[in-house]
Amino acid sequence: MKSNIKTHQKIVADSTFYLLFYADLSDCDSLHKIIMAFDFYVGNKIKDELKNHISKDDVFSKRILDVSQDVNFIQILKGFYQFLQREFPTYSNWIKDGEFEAIGISYHLNRMGRLRFLIIDDNDARRFVEKELNTLHQFLIRTPAFLCVSCKNGHFDKAFVVKILNNIKVSIEAGKSPLRLEINGWKKYIKPLIDSLPEENG
């Protein structure tokens, strides 16, 4: 690690972020290192989407913060998205409840003045946030960019981040679709991110 930065930055990620480490990279150690460096928040839907993995992961259970909500944020967001789908064929793809939940939790944390990032990789969910949810636009980030920003801010060293980003390529070459990327997407999006990381001193 580059430093011993103690941070309480609040982060919300949908299940795709966690599944990258559990299913695509089989790299729980890296996930644990990341969730130890920030405060990650999840709700019941996200946990349900991850249940096969987190039931065996004590670090996740101890470290991740649960958010229970009395307001049904999923209903508000989904109601509007379903309207878009009914009326406009360009909104043909489905957004998972876990993604709506992550968005709702982000609004909640933002009201408390604590949100740092909303990590969403799914293009349809991102498009929904970018186009319709102006308040959250500034917090939206993809997993690879989140790792690179965290590296530049001193939370992780370069070698750690580059290893994960390169392993995404290895995973694609092995026939998986981490973060729903194909090899051209990796070359176009992730490779430039790796190249943008500054050399480390010493």
């Binding site: 909500q69 009395d70 307001v71 049904n72 944020f73 209903q75 508000i76 967001l77 109601g79 509007f80 379903q82 309207f83 878009l84 009914r86 009326e87 406009f88 360009t90 909104y91 709702g104 609004y107 909640h108 933002n110 009201r111 408390m112 003045g113 498009r127 186009k131 319709e132 949810l133 102006n134 308040t135 959250l136």
Partner: protein
């Protein structure tokens, strides 16, 4: 409002203050307030379901308690003003006064300071509602309500359905919401 206790009436007026205070312009049309409070109630029944209710009316879901509280508030009577409008759909505008802005700020600071979870959730829900619906015109907002199957029971008495649910409204919504989408 006779069936409401003073406490419930006060809570409803504070909810209205919260909705107006969380809006960017500190101003909403009567129709926007009514429909956003309707959508809020639908998703937060457990927290605020008892404060106000809705029936089917001329412009979709209607709440007598909200209407009366907006026009003649009993407790926060200096916090907002009503401005009539020629637009028969919007029903006029409600704008926070400087006193209302001050009261909202005090309320917001107190809620965050005391980490009042339920009210912070209500704030967050209002932020979502503003992001989604404040940009819509009265006609577009009603189009959303009128074409949503879950709200069908609230449109049985509508007198503006044919004026609202048209290809023209759909086209203006398409430009606003689905425009630029590849």
């Amino acid at each position: 409002m006779a069936r409401y206790t003073p406490e419930e009436q006060k809570n409803l007026e504070y909810l209205i203050l919260m909705l107006l205070g969380t809006s960017k312009k500190r101003e909403l049309s009567l129709l926007q307030i009514e429909k956003e409070m309707f959508l809020l109630r639908e998703s937060a029944m457990k927290l605020i379901g008892d404060y106000y209710s809705f029936i089917a009316h001329y412009r979709g879901p209607y709440s007598k308690e909200i209407y009366e509280s907006l026009i003649s508030p009993l407790y926060l009577d200096d916090d907002w003003i009503y401005e009539n409008s020629r637009d028969k759909l919007s029903g006029g505008d409600i704008r926070l006064t400087s006193e209302g802005c001050d009261n909202f700020k005090k309320l917001k600071d107190e809620i965050v300071k005391n980490k009042h979870k339920e009210l912070i959730e209500i704030f967050a829900a209002m932020d979502i509602l503003h992001d989604l619906y404040d940009k819509l015109t009265s006609k577009e907002l009603l189009y959303f309500i009128y074409t949503s199957p879950e709200f069908k029971k609230y449109i049985t008495k509508s007198i503006v359905y044919d004026e609202v649910v048209t290809e023209k409204t759909k086209e203006s919504l398409r430009k606003k919401l689905a425009g630029g989408i590849q």
